[in-house]
Symmetry: C2
Subunit: 606 residues, 2 copies
């Protein structure tokens, strides 16, 4: 059975050599304890847990799936024990405030943990992941009493959490939410309604589950401005931090899904369930979305993790499996055939995976620094600072979530392709990675929604192109500095050209969209993918610049690592980045190409 | 539960209006009975069978899968009854010679049938599909005695067939085949070995199964020149065309797969099984591959069918599901939100599916005319004619198989994407289409193998670029004729430019590959995809030219159909064809970009 190896060398390269996390942490209040030694120890320990405990449950969890019996969900064999180890290790509170039992480390440490856990076993990682969403919401919007009641057991991992948004009639369009909340004399509410697609909605990992629920008050305005947010625990809080009475919320059924089968996706029924208003009335959507950027970046990890996992397994297979001879002559003359890795086309697939996994990881770590500052702003009550970094992050979020999850699916499919027909067979795990990853472009806002968020909101509406101008200014400044080195010059030149083109495309669309609003939607997908390819190109140049510096000044023992970085960057620029140009062409094509065909003439039968 | 609607209007457009099948059939001996009325009646009847009998078994077959009990495979509920209807309807013999009980119609009629069956229920269609492979092999290479024994029950569908090539250690690289065949005194052989991935290896649909098996004689040379072909029936033929003694071949286990779960994928064990040599000793691979072009085009259908099915279901959903408002203003003001189909980005996805489904279908029908001539050559014993058309087909085969199956996966994934999170849930069937389709880029030669076959063999080795020159000459001549019409001119100009570029790219690679053989492999994938996009552009211009002609001269009642054709063609040229340019750039990038990184430095741990 294939297993996961934590890519600690690459992670440390990004943290210590490319993005100067040691310096970054020194500047954060929460970073005081995140010394290089501590970070190193945490990464090593987390890696071990993921390799030894979570990875072995990856395939068995998929085979077995979750079960619903008498209204209670049971997770696959081994999940409960693994979760206990996780909770007892204090992992859930890694980046949580110390006053509620957390370790108070920077938010980015949580992302590193999530990346490793999600790569080893995405389904497992969703249980603590959803809890984190609930924790963030209560931390930011809860009353002191609510924080006292819920945050400690959630931080300790004794309780789990969920986010209950989607209903049968609406997912993206939350203005259609129908779940009702009736105020009670004691200040609580009674919630009635049905929520679907609730990850971790019920399970046997924790003694209680805290649902964060969108619902409507009786007199609420229609649409998105009439939605409030509620805490609805599975068991009402009891004395001494324990649990009390069972609440009127239950799992009605489990969805049968393509993948992430070890993650319980529940239909949740609220029948006069007791709930507690969190945040102001009718401002539930705003509250829910405060941490949307971090939640979406959390999902962007699902583009990177599977690319890494699928690459690791495909690389092993390509080294072992022998078929045919390399076109440039026998590479293993003593063997019956050459290993797959000697075939240029197989290398093309492997290097695509590698470029996506390592490039995507670097994009995440680049963004995570901003997330640390944003969270610090919130923690310090400095709303301006929080908003400033939230805006910076807000530009990157749809690129990371939209682009990286699409690329993750490509990488997973390529890993399967390296295995040939064996990739289609369950025992190798490759097809499971494809199935598990496929959800990533759908939940937390589909790729189409990310694209509209990027182009329609972040670029055009909110900044009139300013977001692109600001970002590309930094990119271009960096690129210009690399022009003097002949190894970096071709990449830097290409990147400079692209920063100009990106602004030009933005202006072209902005002008055209004034006359034709549909253009924003018709161009959005190509704009998103273009933005992703250029951002990844920037991040590969960042890595390459460090590699060149180390090759010139570092010890010979590490030379191979940096050469590999340069080679992967060159591959990315020569083989993947050219796709940006086809997106540039497509996004400028007239709206008519998608709008002119009448709905009723989209298909003819008979 | 969603169902399939046979796209007869589009099929007839291609057959009667674009590719003049009525005229084509008049020129074929086997076409005498394929009058327009007969063809029409067959399409209608086949469509009905697929809609009413096969489509309802699509999802249930996936849920249930196949079972292996006591060495016997049972297909899902309803499959046996459906197969009986299929056999009794005479469908298996549609294009088979009349002397063995077939209807003697042209080979292309079989392809039309396969397309509809494969779209409604790909797994089901594999059982008769594999039988057809066995029939073709025996028809072409069997002795008169072998034909007499096997062809009639196979044609009647009473017996099934398989192709047993792959072994655990080899799939693509069949020179590594180990299964042994020991000659016996009576002229038969005893076969011993294990074959894997044998589709339809065992099942309960037919009273007997005829395995066509690759194996080695005791004194055979090593590698591909030492492989012979054998007929190994599950039951030895008995008296009066019935079955006799059970043979030593059995299903050892069923593979657990990502999809096509209703198709039994078997490990087949041969234990001193009685077999009969077919074709000359040690020329088994050549014999096996005689019909490889048609088998691979049969698999190319799996790119088109799922695109069609996924499009049909996604279109229905996009018309019904309401979410948000169109950017250009409310389209359904009385509703809570606008239907998905009003959003430009959703239309982009739907039109991509449509362009792939209809463009892919047209590519298949274009190639099927060549297949008819090739088969006629074989039937008439005119080897030269057969070889001439086999060569023409041989250039198109890897393009169709490689490009269309990749595009089919994209289309299936887009259909799922239109459903948002609901696409990930099994009940809607969208994720099943993705899982089922995914095998298409793997079996019958992976996309990488198709790419090497196209660039390495068909274009460079066999014709020194002549295959591209010859094909593009026709394309360019056609495009030039369309320059005078202002609706066609932009497409025709673009296509003309591409025919020039295709030749230029071919020459560039040919020259560079003389010094660097790895370039053929490193460029092959991009060359294949480029070739696919240009070929599909040609085929969309062909359809557009007919549409323009009909719009100018046809009745008003059909106007919408032809307008839709033109709109879809324009979408293809503006939105999908630009991708050809990124492939053109990538294929010319230096081999070093994939070869320079040492194998041992592809990953670093710790």
């Amino acid at each position: 059975m294939p297993t996961y190896k934590a890519p600690l060398r690459d992670m440390k390269f990004l943290l210590n050599e490319v993005f100067d996390y040691p310096g970054h942490y020194q500047g954060l209040a929460s970073g005081a304890n995140a010394t290089p030694d501590i970070v190193d120890a945490i990464l090593t320990e987390c890696g071990r847990f993921c390799e030894e405990v979570l990875s072995p449950l990856y395939q068995s969890g998929d085979e077995e799936g979750c079960r619903l019996d008498n209204g209670e969900v049971t997770t696959p064999a081994g999940y409960k024990a693994a979760y206990e180890q996780y909770a007892q290790g204090g992992w859930q509170g890694l980046s949580a405030p110390e006053e509620f039992g957390g370790q108070g480390l920077p938010a980015s440490m949580g992302l590193l943990k999530q990346e490793m856990m999600g790569t080893a076993n995405w389904s497992f990682s969703m249980y603590p992941g959803l809890s984190l969403g609930a924790m963030n919401t209560i931390f930011l919007h809860g009353s002191d009493d609510q924080k006292d009641t819920y945050l400690t057991p959630l931080t300790e991992g004794r309780w789990g959490g969920t986010m209950c948004l989607t209903e049968p009639q609406c997912g993206t369009d939350l203005g259609q939410v129908k779940t009702r909340a009736e105020p009670q004399a004691d200040g609580s509410y009674r919630l009635t309604g049905t929520k679907i697609f609730i990850s971790s909605g019920d399970h046997d990992l924790t003694e209680n589950i805290v649902h964060i629920v969108l619902a409507r008050l009786p007199d609420a305005p229609k649409g998105t401005r009439g939605i409030s947010l509620f805490i609805v625990p599975k068991f009402l809080p009891g004395a001494d931090g324990g649990i009390g009475e069972r609440n009127g919320v239950s799992c009605g059924s489990l969805e049968k899904k393509m993948g992430i089968k070890a993650s319980a996706t529940c239909v949740m029924n609220f029948d006069d369930a007791t709930g507690f208003l969190i945040g102001p009335e009718n401002q539930g959507l705003e509250c829910m979305f405060t941490f949307m950027n971090t939640a979406r970046i959390g999902t962007a990890i699902q583009g990177v993790g599977p690319a890494e996992l699928s690459y690791q397994w495909a690389l092993d297979y390509a080294r072992e499996r022998r078929s045919m001879r390399a076109l440039s002559g026998k590479k293993e003359p003593d063997q019956v055939a050459d290993a797959l890795i000697h075939h240029a086309d197989v290398r093309r697939m492997l290097l695509t995976q590698k470029a996506i996994a390592e490039g995507g990881r670097a994009m995440l770590y680049y963004a995570a620094r901003l997330a640390d500052h944003m969270v610090e702003g919130y923690t310090e009550g400095d709303d301006k600072k929080a908003a400033r970094y939230d805006d910076k992050l807000g530009f990157l979020t749809p690129i990371l979530k939209g682009f990286l999850t699409e690329m993750g699916c490509e990488a997973a499919n390529l890993g399967m392709q390296v295995f040939g027909g064996h990739g289609y067979i369950r025992e190798h795990g490759m097809e499971q990675i494809v199935r598990d990853t496929r959800i990533a472009t759908l939940y937390e806002g589909t790729t189409g929604i990310q694209a509209l968020d990027l182009l329609g909101r972040k670029v055009l509406l909110m900044t009139q192109g300013g977001a692109v101008r600001e970002f590309t200014l930094n990119v271009a400044n960096f690129a210009r500095k690399q022009l003097t080195d002949k190894r970096l010059r071709p990449m830097a030149l290409e990147l400079l050209k692209l920063t100009g083109q990106w602004n030009w495309l933005t202006v072209r669309i902005m002008l055209a969209a004034r006359k034709d609003r549909d253009l924003v939607s018709s161009a959005a997908h190509d704009f998103l993918m273009y933005s992703g390819y250029v951002t990844m190109a920037y991040i590969w140049l960042r890595q390459s610049a460090v590699a060149v510096d180390k090759l010139d000044n570092g010890g010979a023992d590490a030379e191979a690592f940096y050469q590999a970085k340069l080679a992967t960057a060159e591959f990315y620029y020569e083989r993947l980045l050219p796709r940006a140009q086809s997106h540039a062409t497509s996004m400028l094509s007239p709206t008519a190409s998608v709008m002119q065909l009448a709905d009723e003439h989209m298909a003819f039968t008979g």
